[in-house]
Amino acid sequence: MKAGTKIGYGFSRLSVNVALGMLVIIWLLPTFMLVVSSFRPIGDMMSSGWWTAFLNPERFTLDNYKLVLTSKGIGTSFINSLIITIPSTILPILLGALAAYPLAFSKFPGRKSIFITLIAMQIVPLQVVLIPVLLLLMGLNLNGTFTGVWLTHTAFGLPLCIYIFRNFFAQMPYSLIEAAKIDGANNLQIFFRLLVPMAKPAFASMAIFQFLWVWNDMLVALFVLNNSALNPVTVKLSSLLGSLDAGWEIMTPAALLSMLLPVTIFLMFQKYYVKGILAGSVKG
């Protein structure tokens, strides 16, 4: 703990604790509600508040979960989300790191304008480019396919990846790379044997960022996938809620399951996620 925390603000320690405690409860309440509700029978859910569930704990049930995994293509949508997310996380990181290497170490002509373009492209709203991207994919016969979504997510993730990796690489001591070159290492060797191991934190940050972004994405899936058999779980949830053709006994466990993977990854690698945000990771 740093010294600053011991100085305090002069407010009583108790009032600070109470205020923060209330904020935490407010922030936790909706998720807690979802967890509790997802284990209640639908009849109870529609007739009484989730807070009453603890009066009859014997009524908690796993039925909703059994139902959700077998009905309305929700199981498929989870698999779709995984199929979409894994390549869409790996590709931009790999291609981004490759592109960042010369940007960080080589003084080729045009690098300044490429870098400025990358910064600008990070901030272009996806809504601006999605229709031409859809038309491009239509031309390639890739609309409504996983390949089309992978390419789109990769392209959209690249500017941020390149930017973060370039800044990370640029902080590394150039003398190390010089030394490796003198020892006869080529660029591939320098990249994979020297830079990649050293840049592990940057890779971790970007992997988490891109994973969460793609897993939680709805916009790209709606525009370029738009294929009910391949839709990810976000689109599925949204359409279930919109059409109201699934009851809360399906929606509550489905929403909770969709949060499970990103929240677990987030909690496990929070340190890297925070580092990523501090290094300038924001997604459009």
């Binding site: 600053g4 100085i7 305090g8 603000y9 002069g10 407010f11 600070v16 904020l23 935490v24 909706p30 998720t31 509600m33 979802l34 007739s47 508040g49 981004g96 490759l98 592109a99 010369p102 080729f108 690098r111 490429i114 400025i116 990358l118 910064i119 600008a120 492209m121 901030i123 809504q127 601006v128 480019v129 229709i131 031409p132 991207v133 491009l136 031309g139 789109t152 990769t154 392209a155 500017p159 640029a170 290492a185 080529n186 060797q189 939680n216 709606l222 738009n226 779980v233 976000t234 949830l237 949204s238 809620l241 929606m251 509550t252 969709s258 990103p262 987030f266 945000i277 501090l278 924001v282």
Partner: protein
């Protein structure tokens, strides 16, 4: 390989070094060019065009008026087309306008103007269908799609709601983020508190939407928010937060704050940790109270972070989509409509890519000032680093 590299360095000089640079960047640059740079310009182009549609009525009216121009007199639909001198010119004009080729031999001397129009309709629509994999035949219309927005009441509603989001969301999320950052720095369990408050950042707008849809249920016995109000006011019968035009946008803004506040807290927390302890100690010795220390020392010290967070939140909020799309689809009756949701509906429900593109351009224009600010900040950092 390594041997060759070193030789290349000695003899080939810089050129081979640059070639490797471009090769390594090529996949990324190609993808970024075709998926981001080029589409930005294509959207601007689309926004200045409209799709050509062609009905039989249009064909009849067009042909009739062209023929009348040529003949200089009234032409009835039942007239035989080949009896009008120069009828080929009228057809040629339509061919030109719709970029189609008409088989003149199909137009026999017994055909009336009406029958020719029917034939033209088929020809033009066949051509349009062939283009249907893309955006169809397009016609330049200048700023028509933009002026159309001025008379579009739903557009006004969307822009008004975006403004609500911009002001209210940004204020609440920044103040809440700061408060949480400050408070959690003062307690031993601050890290745990921050983790809990960050967590909604990891979930999708769709999942958040489902959660809050349930939280906002109208019934005081099942809807959490209404039940809480009911505790303080037993006469309270419950409000349909998502069904009331007056309330729905504010209800959605609250969801946005819940989901995004963690981002602000992360940045504020890190910035507050960077304030030198000696500065705070000195102020304390001179008798400053905690509020004075915050507003006179800490806040000015981290001001650049505050500006950064505000710009990021503005950019986020202008594009807000998932929450609105999942929870209300812009309803009831467009009361919670925002620009991004309207773009989606225009593109897909109305199939009007051109009007949708014009809206996207407006969204982009709204973001440009923030974009310039960011580029300036980043390139300043860049020049410091070099």
């Amino acid at each position: 390989m390594a041997q060759r590299m070193r030789e290349g360095k000695r003899t080939g000089g810089f050129k081979s070094k640059y070639l490797f640079s471009y090769l390594w960047m090529a996949p990324a640059i190609i993808l970024i060019f075709f998926f981001l740079v080029l589409p930005t310009f294509q959207t601007i182009k689309l926004s200045l065009h409209e799709k050509i549609s062609f009905s039989e009525r249009e064909a009849r009216e067009l042909l009739q008026s062209e023929l009348q121009n040529i003949k200089g007199a009234e032409v009835a639909l039942t007239d035989k087309i080949q009896e009008i001198a120069g009828w080929e010119q009228a057809i040629a004009k339509i061919e030109d306008q719709y970029k189609v080729t008409v088989a003149y031999e199909d137009i026999s001397d017994t055909m009336t103007v009406k029958q020719t129009a029917e034939l033209l309709t088929v020809t033009v629509n066949t051509a349009l269908r062939q283009e249907q994999s893309g955006v169809g035949l397009q016609r330049f219309v200048g700023l028509k799609n933009y002026t159309r927005m001025l008379e579009d009441p739903e557009m006004k509603l969307a822009l008004r709601n975006n403004l609500y989001w911009l002001v209210l969301f940004t204020i609440f999320v920044v103040i809440a983020g700061m408060l949480i950052a400050v408070l959690s720095d003062k307690v031993s369990w601050g890290k745990l508190a921050k983790t809990i408050i960050f967590m909604p950042m990891a979930i999708s707008g769709a999942a958040g939407g489902v959660i809050w849809y349930f939280m906002y249920q109208k019934d005081v016995s099942t809807g959490t928010i209404n039940a809480i109000i009911n505790v303080f006011n037993p006469q309270f019968e419950g409000i349909a937060f998502l069904g009331e035009a007056r309330l729905v946008t504010f209800a959605l803004i609250a969801v946005g704050v819940w989901m995004q506040v963690g981002f602000c807290t992360v940045l504020f927390s890190a910035a507050l940790q960077s304030v030198p302890v000696s500065l705070i100690e000195m102020a304390r010795i001179e008798g400053a109270n905690s509020l004075q220390i915050f507003f006179r020392i800490e806040l000015p010290y981290i001001w650049s972070t505050v500006v950064l967070v505000i710009t990021q939140m503005i950019m986020w909020v202008l594009k807000v989509f998932d929450i609105v799309f999942t929870m209300t689809h812009g309803g009831p009756f467009g009361a919670s409509e925002v620009l991004a949701n309207r773009i989606y509906r225009t593109d897909f429900n109305l199939g009007d890519f051109n009007y949708g593109s014009a809206m996207a351009v407006i969204l982009f224009i709204a973001i440009i000032p923030v974009l310039i600010l960011n580029i300036r900040n980043l390139s300043r950092e860049e020049s410091i680093r070099e």
